[in-house]
């Protein structure tokens, strides 16, 4: 039973890490209706620029600030040179454009900062918490717990920002109806630039967390693939959905990885590891058949 809880909690905490990436998707989708496939690549770019700048001799805090500047500039540039030109195109075209953007970043980032995997040290060690280990005999990583804390803070800040600030209100208005927002004088392009900046910030946080845990390497771009089922489960438009979806996906995939392969081995023989690669997708797919708009998504009504 302890083992079960250990796996469960480990899964929940890694789910928080997925949610961090999923948040970036939700922000952009909410405000501009663009499904930004490049979020994973942005995570990679952010982590790589922090490490790259530190290699040039800057301290961590300066590197983070500079990386944030890079991400903001990049977000604004994307909005200005790509998305603005694609206004009024079908959403699928925008989606495919962000796939192009993904490839662009995946080529650009390692060209500037180098492509060899590196460690990112942000001063938190990845070791079990002694107190829990002693009393309940469970291995819970200190790092994962801190990452969960960071995610919680980030979500709270974003929620407050959306709910109570002037810009947040404008963002929600744009998300609701582009035309109506324009007609009451909300500058659409500023708003989109801000959203891309915020998404860049979220990517930076996610990139530092993932980078500190697994090292800064190309595999960081695959975090996007982990975040997609989270989004489907939680709904594309909901910030809490991203968190809840992340928790469900994280927990279920770790449990599946532990408990399904032995059963399959009994049935068919052979080695059936690596289930976590597809399990979240199949889970999300089955979930979609029951509830196509996700847990917290808005119901979509088609009109002819």
């Amino acid at each position: 039973m302890e083992f079960f809880f250990e796996v469960l909690i480990g899964g929940l905490l890694s789910g928080v890490m997925y949610a961090l990436v999923a948040l970036g998707f939700v922000l952009i989708y909410k405000a501009s209706g663009v499904f930004n496939f490049a979020q994973g690549a942005m995570v990679y770019l952010a982590a790589l620029s922090v490490v790259g700048i530190m290699e040039w001799g800057a301290p961590l805090w300066l590197a983070v600030i500079l990386a944030f500047a890079i991400m903001t500039a990049f977000g604004i540039g994307t909005e200005k040179f790509v998305l603005r030109k694609l206004v009024n195109q079908p959403p699928i075209a925008l989606f495919m454009a962000t796939i192009g953007l993904t490839f662009f970043i995946e080529g650009l980032a390692p060209m500037i900062f180098g492509s060899d995997p590196r460690a990112l040290d942000i001063g938190i060690v990845d070791e079990p918490i002694p107190y829990i280990l002693d009393n309940w005999n469970m291995v819970i990583s200190k790092f994962d717990l801190i990452a969960a804390g960071v995610a919680a803070v980030l979500v709270t800040v974003l929620a407050l920002f959306f709910q109570y600030t002037r810009i947040g209100r404008a963002l929600r208005a744009v998300a609701d109806d582009h035309q109506a927002a324009l007609s009451i004088g909300i500058p659409l392009q500023h708003i989109w630039a801000i959203v891309w900046g915020v998404a860049g910030f979220v990517a930076l946080v996610a990139g530092m967390m993932w980078g500190a845990r697994n090292g800064v390497q190309f595999a960081l771009t695959f975090t996007a693939l982990k975040a997609l089922p989270v989004l489907i489960l939680g709904g594309f438009t909901s910030v809490p959905g991203a968190i809840v979806g992340g928790l469900i996906i994280g927990a279920s995939e770790k449990l599946a990885e532990i408990y399904i392969p032995p059963v399959m081995q009994d049935l068919f023989g052979g080695n059936f590891g690596g289930i976590e690669g597809w399990f979240p997708y199949v889970l999300a797919l089955l979930f979609l058949l029951v509830r196509p708009e996700g847990l917290f998504g808005e119901k979509h009504i088609d009109r002819v």
Binding site: V82, L86, G100, M111, G270, L288
Partner: protein, 358 residues
Amino acid sequence: MLYREAGQFKTTYAADQQLFPIRQDRIGLIALLAVAFLGVPMFASEYWFSAILIPFLIFSLAALGLNILTGYAGQLSLGTAAFMAVGAYAAYNFQLRVEGIPILVSFICAGLTAAGVGILFGLPSLRIKGFYLAVATLAAQFFIVWCLTKFPWLSNNSSSGVISAHNIEILGYAFNTPRDKYLLVLAIVVLLALAAKNMVRSTTGRAWMAVRDMDVAASVIGIRLMRTKLLAFAVSSFYCGVAGALYAYCYLGSVEPDGFSLDMSFRILFMVIIGGVGSILGSFLGAAFILLLPIFLDILLPFFAGLFGLPFSSATVSHIQIMVFGALIMFFLIVEPHGLARLWQIAKEKLRLWPFPH
């Protein structure tokens, strides 16, 4: 300048409904096929066959399959490579386990198997669409590749799921040289491309386009959504499955599941976007463009590097390649969303009246 179709009157319905109603188009097509079937085998070298022409044809076929699903029926799929993998492994298993089955029959069976799997993963399209569906097809991509790696039966117990293709023999003639394989692939691709061209102008094709443009409206005018969408998945997967079987048997000779990666799916999607969404010709143009671009950059970049005295490592060249890919996708989506096929059409329109446009 090019040609004008004035003066070609149709006196029967059959003449009006033929696949290529304009005489010059027919002559052009026959000339092109003559060059492909007779001219190219005489002059091309072994390198050209095995490194450029065969993959070009195979990827054109896969792009054609994806174009039927995405371009005509409007269902975005990111799992093309997985359906190709199904085709490759199905062909292998039919050859291996069915005594004395002709290779062409096992290719067709491979296509049908892929079609079955395609229908299975197309089922969610009845409930969901757009991005949700795109993510659902990712499930196919990961799940199928995992299955092929983990179930040893599928690859006849070889380590890490690698399969090696059997020899190809049709009616006692062994297809051993790259030139023979090229001709085989060419014949299959031409046949399937003509079938596709015919299909997209039929009732089925028009139903697909109606569903693409707006599925609620399509269902209101009496198109059965379930049938239409699943048929699109089946036909598309059939094409991808045959392409996958050819990829294993005529191009690489031995394949592993991980070779059919998400990256390959994206590559085929790029062929469709750059070539032209919803165009048969576009699938071929896109495949040619995406396959030739890396070769082109490989030659061009070191040349420019030498010109400006920049030290380009091979890693940098591959990074620039990826960047150019990405940039081109965005460029095409912004400037010409209908791709190379549309450019060709515009050029034809212009040349019709040139040099006296008024």
